[in-house]
């Protein structure tokens, strides 16, 4: 038997009471805040998970917003591209019609008027702005119109008409992150979307014996190419071909010039950074080699142009009544343009689809992240309330017992 001193039951009671008060306070605070952990120590590992889940949840939300933004931009762009396709289709109809040889010169001129109107409309379409006031087709240079439209008087047409259209936008290097570490190219560039034909550039000089004499760096369609001193022309060709751009370089077997050709219809974009090698081989101009895309050597032959080049060719041929040209080069050019546009539309559709997939996957992920987080961080109210009532019950019981036991001593029975 253990001896019990008078203070022992009191001390014991006090200890148990403070312990219970602490637990009741914990439960009560949990219920008040609806959190399952008041402090990190309540569930440190869960807390670590929750921090990750919380951050991951916010990231996913952000990615969804990014996707919505890009998708919005692209669907607008798609609308304009569809419109451009209809315009080009109409132009093609006109060219077929005009090439039949059954129309008189005046009829062709009427067609030319329509073609001119269509070209104007096409110019509006390609310089379209998105909802946030940014141009849709100017690559990264979203604040300037992608196509510079030159107007003048064209013989045979009454009003001032479009005479030249050239790309004034930029390359598209911006990417938007759609999931951790995965991005999509955000901006569309008009010199690819509205390009009709493969571009070919024939250098102006014979490159035989050419050797690079200093370090040269230039950016070809957004890809860095570095030429080292001592590289001969074949090395230069290989370096361009290996750069990863959709451009193929070759040496002309006849003239010995350095030629470039696109493998997907678009405009070749060369930005020199240091060195003059490309000017030396007669590809770029010496005067202002950085003024892309008008930085080709004056003697270099550049072929393959945008949709406008084909559309304007049709208009002019119609005006001149050159049915042979209409039926030959013009129809062919418009066909290529149409093909290229349809390919770009399909490409955009495929990319949009990827976004759709990513978006629905992320939405699902957001839901499950939220669930998981809530499971770890939020209070199980039923459990908390049950615990609370248990604690209340034991408190009542212990108070009652304490009240009875602590009140009697021998003193009560002594006279």
């Amino acid at each position: 038997m253990q001896r019990i001193s008078t203070n022992m039951p009191m001390l014991d009671n006090r200890f148990r009471m403070s312990e219970r008060d602490f637990r009741m306070d914990q439960v009560q605070r949990g219920i008040a805040s609806s959190r399952s952990m008041n402090n990190l120590r309540d569930a440190p590992v869960d807390a670590a998970h929750v921090t990750r889940l919380d951050s991951a949840g916010k990231r996913v939300e952000r990615y969804l917003a990014n996707i919505d933004y890009v998708r919005g931009r692209w669907s607008q762009a798609e609308g304009y591209m569809n419109e451009a396709v209809s315009i080009v289709q109409r132009l093609r109809e006109l060219s077929i019609q005009g090439a039949t040889g059954t129309y008189a010169r005046e009829d062709l001129n009427y067609m030319a008027v329509e073609a001119d109107a269509l070209v104007s409309e096409l110019a509006n379409v390609v310089n379209a702005k998105g909802g946030d006031g940014q141009y849709l087709f100017s690559g990264d240079d979203v604040s300037t119109p992608p196509f510079l439209v030159g107007t003048g008087r064209v013989p045979g047409l009454s009003n001032t008409s479009i005479t030249t259209v050239s790309y004034a936008g930029a390359q598209s290097r911006s990417e938007t992150e759609i999931t951790d570490g995965h991005s999509v190219e955000t901006n569309l560039r008009g010199n690819e979307v509205f390009w009709a034909d493969h571009q070919q550039v024939f250098g102006a000089r014979d490159t035989e014996g050419f050797v690079v004499d200093e370090t040269n760096r230039f950016v070809l369609d957004g890809k860095q190419v570095v030429l080292e001193p001592g590289d001969n022309i074949h090395t230069v060709v290989r370096k361009i071909n290996d750069a990863g751009a959709a451009v193929k370089a070759s040496i002309d077997p006849v003239t010995g010039s350095l030629n470039l050709e696109t493998t997907i219809p678009h405009q070749i974009w060369i930005e020199p950074v240091e060195g003059t090698a490309l000017s030396d081989v007669g590809l770029l101009t010496d005067v202002d080699p950085t003024g892309v895309p008008r930085n080709w050597h004056p003697d270099a032959m550049v072929s393959g142009g945008s949709l406008f080049d084909q559309a304007l060719a049709l208009r002019d041929a119609l005006l001149q009544g050159d049915q042979e040209r209409i039926g030959g080069a013009v129809v062919g050019g418009l066909d290529k343009g149409l093909n290229s546009m349809l390919r770009n539309l399909a490409d955009l559709g495929a990319k949009t689809e990827r976004l759709e997939f990513a978006s629905s996957r992320l939405a699902e992920e957001a839901g499950s992240l939220g669930d998981w987080k809530s499971k770890l961080a939020d209070l199980d109210v039923t459990q908390a309330i049950t615990e609370m009532s248990m604690l209340e019950y034991t408190r009542k019981a212990s108070y009652q017992v304490a009240g009875r036991v602590l009140q009697t001593t021998l003193m009560d029975f002594l006279r």
């Binding site: 001193s5 100017s138 938007t176 003193m411």
Partner: protein, 625 residues
């Protein structure tokens, strides 16, 4: 034959003894609630009988009893139990202190809910994402700046609160040492009193109780052992050294330590030697201040420094919509203001050290390509030199991994252009400054020709911080370095004022050509936003998410252990206290029973005296009348 009056003497002794016993009962009853009081018992004993068995003894059968006397008044206590309580006292003090301070640190983290630094950082990354979607937006630039400021406020605040806790701990140490000294002085005084009292043959029970109580309290501050085998000298030891030896006291003192930010060391007052209590409240306070909270601050510093450096690295390369470039996003004040990182460490007016935080090589490296030659890189770690060997077949990545997993207090990474970058980390010992690269040496060509960091191989061409102009050892013509912060980065980081003044200078684009990129180029913004989940930090946590999760788990686990240990230690102490109460505590019922017993004894003695009185009366007044 006994004396006529001996009965009165016997009765008187009995009356005295019982009175003494009754007053002891009263003493017990009165002190029932006094902390540390042990109940006392009067030990009664029969007085030595008359006539020892010698030749001159009275020829009567038996001895003549002489009544009762008080032999001693003793405390009822269990010496072994008391020692166990003393032995547990320092643990109780340790866990109680640790529990309450760790809880404060936990609350500083404010995890896992929305007010934490992590949530602010999430907002910051969110801002860059928004800017990456609208690279030419001014509102987005404002948002990035404001969120950057909010984040830095959050980091600063976290630093300040941790610093406050560290200051509180230091104050607590100073106050506690004072308390310990006070207790020691009091014990010494009691010792003197007790020895005097004992010399007179007394049993100073209440002084014993008070001394035991003080020793108990002392044991909460320091691990102590008590030795009272020598009745003249009461000894208290801590870690084998005397705290108290009878009248001799070794007091403690505090001494500010400049290499530990002026925080106080606990020293012996007599010889100034350092005292490192292993446990108890003092041990706990020192550990919390110099390990746990210091570690929290260092870890926050390291993350902040890496964070600011990474964001700045991209931001400097980036171009704003107005064409500015080369601007830092965050600024650290104060930095070492010498451009070569030269610094006067000893404070004697001469530049004697080089404080450099980051070194970068010239050449772009491919992480997967083998280096093709062997050598040994020598760096500095918490316990001196760290050697990292490499062979010809090792790839760059292998070597970097090996450096990062070695104890060397640096991190080696490739920057965005693939150039080797060596960054200083926090230092384990308080003798070395944080964020200072201390030693870089390569016996082979990896750091020299290959990475273009050092000019030459071997110890002569090594980079070492213990000299001014150490950066001259770097590869000439491009090997870059940046100087170290002089104070805690987490306390002194700010958003660059140049940007606050002109938000349009916030960079969003990158340039491939060295010319201003178009306004819609978002690559800088998007690269910065991607820092969030890329493995950019080396060491235990690779991404910022990892860092925050680990920081929360770390302090949470510490808190969990502290709370559990405190609870179990409380239970142990309670059990022991119960046992002590069971032995030494006053039970009123018992005392009342004793009281009645002694009361009756007293009554009986009085009756006995009356009877003897009547007997004498008979003899004197009635005889022959």
């Amino acid at each position: 034959m006994g004396s006529t009056f001996s009965g009165i003497e016997i009765g008187k002794r009995s009356l005295n003894t019982h009175q003494q016993a009754l007053s002891t009962v009263g003493h017990n009853l009165s002190n029932a609630s006094v902390e540390g009081y042990s109940r006392q018992r009067v030990k009664m004993r029969a007085v030595d009988p008359l006539y020892r068995p010698q030749l001159n003894r009275e020829e009567v059968p038996g001895q003549i009893g002489q009544g009762v006397e008080v032999a001693s008044i003793e405390r009822i206590r269990d010496e072994l139990l008391e020692n166990r309580i003393l032995a547990q006292g320092d643990l109780a003090g340790y866990w109680e202190t640790r529990d309450s301070y760790i809880l404060q640190v936990e609350q500083i983290h404010q995890e896992p809910y929305d007010t934490s630094v992590r949530a602010l950082m999430d907002q910051f990354w969110q801002g860059w994402q928004e800017l990456s979607v609208h690279p030419d937006g001014q509102a987005e630039r404002q948002a990035v700046l404001r969120r950057g400021e909010a984040l830095i406020d959050g980091v600063n605040q976290r630093y300040n609160r941790l610093k406050q806790v560290r200051n509180m701990l230091d104050d607590d140490i100073v106050v506690s040492v004072g308390e310990v000294n006070g207790m020691l002085a009091e014990i010494k005084n009691l010792n003197e009193e007790i020895v005097k009292s004992e010399a007179l043959g007394d049993n100073p029970n209440d002084m014993y109780d008070r001394r035991d109580l003080l020793v108990n309290k002392l044991s909460e501050y320091l691990p102590v052992t008590v030795d009272n085998r020598d009745p003249d000298e009461f000894l208290i030891h801590t870690r084998g050294l005397h705290l108290i030896q009878g009248k001799q006291v070794s007091y403690l003192d505090v001494d500010p330590n400049p290499s530990n930010e002026g925080y106080h060391d606990i020293i012996w007052d007599a010889n100034g030697e350092l005292l490192r209590p292993a446990s108890g409240k003092l041990g706990s306070l020192v550990e919390l201040r110099d390990t746990d909270v210091r570690g929290e601050i260092q870890s926050l510093d390291e993350m902040t420094m890496a964070f600011a450096d990474l964001v700045n690295g991209i931001h400097r390369d980036g171009w704003s919509a107005t064409g500015s470039t080369g601007v830092d996003f965050f600024r650290e004040y104060p930095f070492v203001d010498n451009l070569s990182g030269n610094y006067d460490r000893s404070g004697d007016g001469e530049l004697d050290s080089t404080y450099v935080y980051r070194l970068s090589g010239i050449h772009s490296l491919d992480p997967a390509s083998p280096v093709g030659f062997a050598g040994t890189i020598t760096l500095d770690g918490p316990n001196g030199e760290v050697n990292v060997p490499y062979t010809a077949m090792d790839t760059v990545e292998n070597i970097l991994d090996r450096i990062n997993s070695s104890p060397a207090e640096v991190t080696a990474v490739l920057d965005r252009q693939g150039r080797l970058e060596i960054r200083a980390g926090i230092s384990g010992s308080t003798d070395n400054p944080d964020f200072v690269i201390r030693h870089v040496e390569d016996s082979g060509q990896f750091l020299t020709g290959y990475a273009g960091l050092l000019e030459g191989s071997g110890p002569e061409a090594a980079y070492d911080w213990r000299q001014s102009d150490a950066v001259l050892a770097l590869s000439p013509g491009g090997a870059a370095y940046s100087v170290s912060p002089l104070s805690h980065p987490s306390g002194w980081l700010r958003v660059n004022e140049e940007l606050v003044a002109d938000p349009s200078k916030v960079a969003s684009g990158l340039s491939d050509t060295g010319r201003r990129p178009p306004s819609g180029d978002n690559r800088a913004a998007s690269d910065i936003a991607m820092l969030r989940h890329r493995p950019v930090l080396a060491g235990r946590s690779e991404t910022f998410d990892d860092w925050f999760a680990l920081a929360a788990a770390d302090i949470g686990l510490k808190g969990e252990i502290a709370a559990q240990s405190r609870e179990s230690q409380d239970l142990v102490m309670k059990e022991l206290e119960d046992l002590r109460q069971s032995i030494s505590g006053v039970n009123l019922d018992e005392e009342f029973a004793e009281m009645i017993k002694f009361q009756h004894g007293y009554n009986a003695a009085a009756r006995f005296v009356t009877t003897v009185d009547e007997m004498i009366d008979t003899i004197i007044n009635r005889l022959g009348a």
